[in-house]
């Protein structure tokens, strides 16, 4: 293989090896398959997807997996771990654009221009799947289920951008952020009541357009009000209803 690739990875496995992949290595065997592209796909489509995807295992924290300007080869699905997309402005300040959990797609923004707009870094130990875009489009032409799911994934990404650019208070933003992570984890069969946040305070602040000081101030107030309990990086959602009320303005708009 001599084509440049968005994610560095071992050379593509031979066809025979791919056929013998254990179920763990397939779309059909993936524990977030039900949230990712495989949702609603029939047997034939699943099999095609299994052959399409290229897995990159063993990504370690702080590893940059995509550089801005890398040519777009395909969508990147998070298999496990948590990833952050970000960019730097002219002054060298980092701007965090998104956090991606298992089953979520990275690289939608690159489809149009043909190269990645943002850096992608691992916040955690994790794994990624790369889905060749042309092949994905081809497969989706024969599968209503896959086509619908792709639209759904694209749309949810847009909704995410919308609420963050609205005119909301720090309390509303942080409450919505915690609820959003909690819900996304819950959808993934994880504990949505008690979870580790792998991103730093400054990442959260940058993502929500808040000063880092504001993030720590508001979170410690949430804790004082016994809405959440925080131990190191672990969050326990004690009063999700109170958080929902605090985030009402955002939740209503979604």
């Amino acid at each position: 293989m001599n084509r440049p690739s968005g994610i560095d990875r071992p050379a593509r496995q031979s066809r025979t090896e791919q056929v013998q992949l254990d179920t763990q290595q397939r779309c059909s065997g993936c524990d977030v398959g039900h949230l990712c592209v495989a949702t609603g796909a029939d047997e034939t489509t699943l099999e095609k997807l299994d052959h399409l995807l290229e897995i990159r295992d063993g990504v370690t924290p702080s590893r940059v997996v995509v550089k801005r300007g890398d040519p777009f080869q395909g969508l990147i699905a998070v298999r496990s771990g948590c990833f952050k997309t970000y960019t730097h402005d002219r002054d060298g300040r980092e701007h965090v654009l998104g956090f991606f959990l298992p089953g979520e797609l990275i690289g939608l923004d690159a489809i149009e221009r043909g190269f990645h707009q943002y850096d992608v870094i691992a916040l955690d130990h994790g794994a990624l799947c790369e889905l060749d875009f042309e092949a994905l489009v081809e497969i989706s032409a024969c599968s209503d289920g896959l086509r619908k799911q792709l639209f759904r994934l694209f749309a949810s990404r847009l909704a995410d951008v919308e609420w963050r650019t609205g005119d909301y208070t720090a309390d509303e933003r942080l409450a919505a952020f915690l609820l959003d992570i909690s819900e996304r984890l819950h959808q993934r069969g994880r504990d949505g009541q008690r979870f580790e946040l792998p991103m730093s305070r400054s990442d959260i602040g940058s993502y929500l357009s808040l000063a880092t000081e504001t993030v720590s101030r508001v979170l410690s107030r949430f804790q004082k009000q016994q809405w959440i309990a925080v131990r190191r990086k672990q969050v326990s959602m004690i009063a999700p209803d109170a958080l929902s009320s605090a985030a009402e303005a955002i939740l209503e708009s979604r």
Binding site: R201, A211, T212, E213, Q223, V230, R231, R232, K233, V235
Partner: protein
Amino acid sequence: MRDQAAFGTDTRNEFRGCDPGAPGFTLMPNEKHWSRTIGDDVFRGAIKRSNADLIPRPLSIYLHLPFCATLCYHCNRHKKVTRNRSMIAAYVDTLVREMTGKAVLFDRDRMVRSLRVGGGTPVYLKPGQISHLMANLRTNFSMPRDGDRDYAIDIDPRSVTTRDLQNLAWHGFNRVQLAVQGMSRVTELAINRAQSDHQVRFAIAKSRDAGIDEVGVLFRYGLPAQTLQLAERSLSQLLTTGPASVRLAAYCHDPAHNPAQRLVPETLLPAADVRNAMFIALRDRLIDAGYQFLGPDQFALPNSALFNAQRTGSLARHIGGFSSNAGHDMLGLGLAAVSRIDEHLFQNATEIDRYSEAIADGGSAIVKGRLADDQERAQSQVVQDLLCQGRCDKSAWEDSFKQPFDQYFKAALDRLNDYARAGAIALEPQHIVILPPGMTYLDRIIGCFQSTK
């Protein structure tokens, strides 16, 4: 003596060595538990991990200003008696350099909620030098000007001026601590610290005039030539000034480690039983005067900072006594200063030349450290809960340490049975509660939970 009956003869001395007022547990591990190989890199690593917490711990800063004009024989702190002003000026420069170097390690959203300036005699520095240090603290750290902060400084009633106090108030100090060594001429002369009743009253009144409402006093007993009557009379005099908090501290006679004490005639020292009687009498006098008994040696008026800290759960006990900074990381700056980051301990060089050279070379001046292991964290939580809240919630502890409490502390609980039978504590299924008679023996009760001292 309202709780003597519970234990028969008070045997405090057997447990406390030379110092009946000091705790039988310790917050400062013995020399053998420190490691001289722990230095700058471990310190930096601990701060980095602590920075990563989702809600960062607030910072407490301790600033050590070791200089004194004269030598007090009772003092066992790291100090330097000097009249050499250029030495002090050089030290201030070094201290600024140290704080600049260490401040960058901490995330800027870590607010300095607690500041303690001790010595030596901090106000031996000129107001301009104090201002210089405070300006540099404000430049390098996030220091809230108003609201939720506890900024305290030790003052010396013999030398503090109105100008000093106004300067301190302007820089945001809201608590002064002063030490009263018996308040009687004869005891003061025996330890070379003549400090008149008038000076103490002046210092307290002028602190309040300057806007520093909270005055804490350390009252020393068991001093040479001090009798029970003298101690009681001195305390009564002191209480007419209405200090917000009073800590009773015993004079510790240890000439082997503190050579100045060779100048104290041993024949003048009160006998152990007199010292114990003093503590009980002084304690009862404080309680009768409306002070709340917070811990083994600490008393505070309702609505004082320490009292409120106990109510809100922010009371913590450190080497220097109680303060309202539970859960903070503590950064010690200056000669022999101790830092506690993420429960790990680090200490700066204790000789002034070594300290100054290390900082001048761009180093951290940390010469030894002690890493907190799981056992120490587990014990520490119980110790702080009992010391500061008078009770320990077993299920909260089990939440943190994922082990059955009763099993983990079986040996300690066995030892506590005697105290429970005597009515000093209540051993409930879910809680351990210190009962009023147990307050005086708190240090020994807590000592049961410490396996490393």
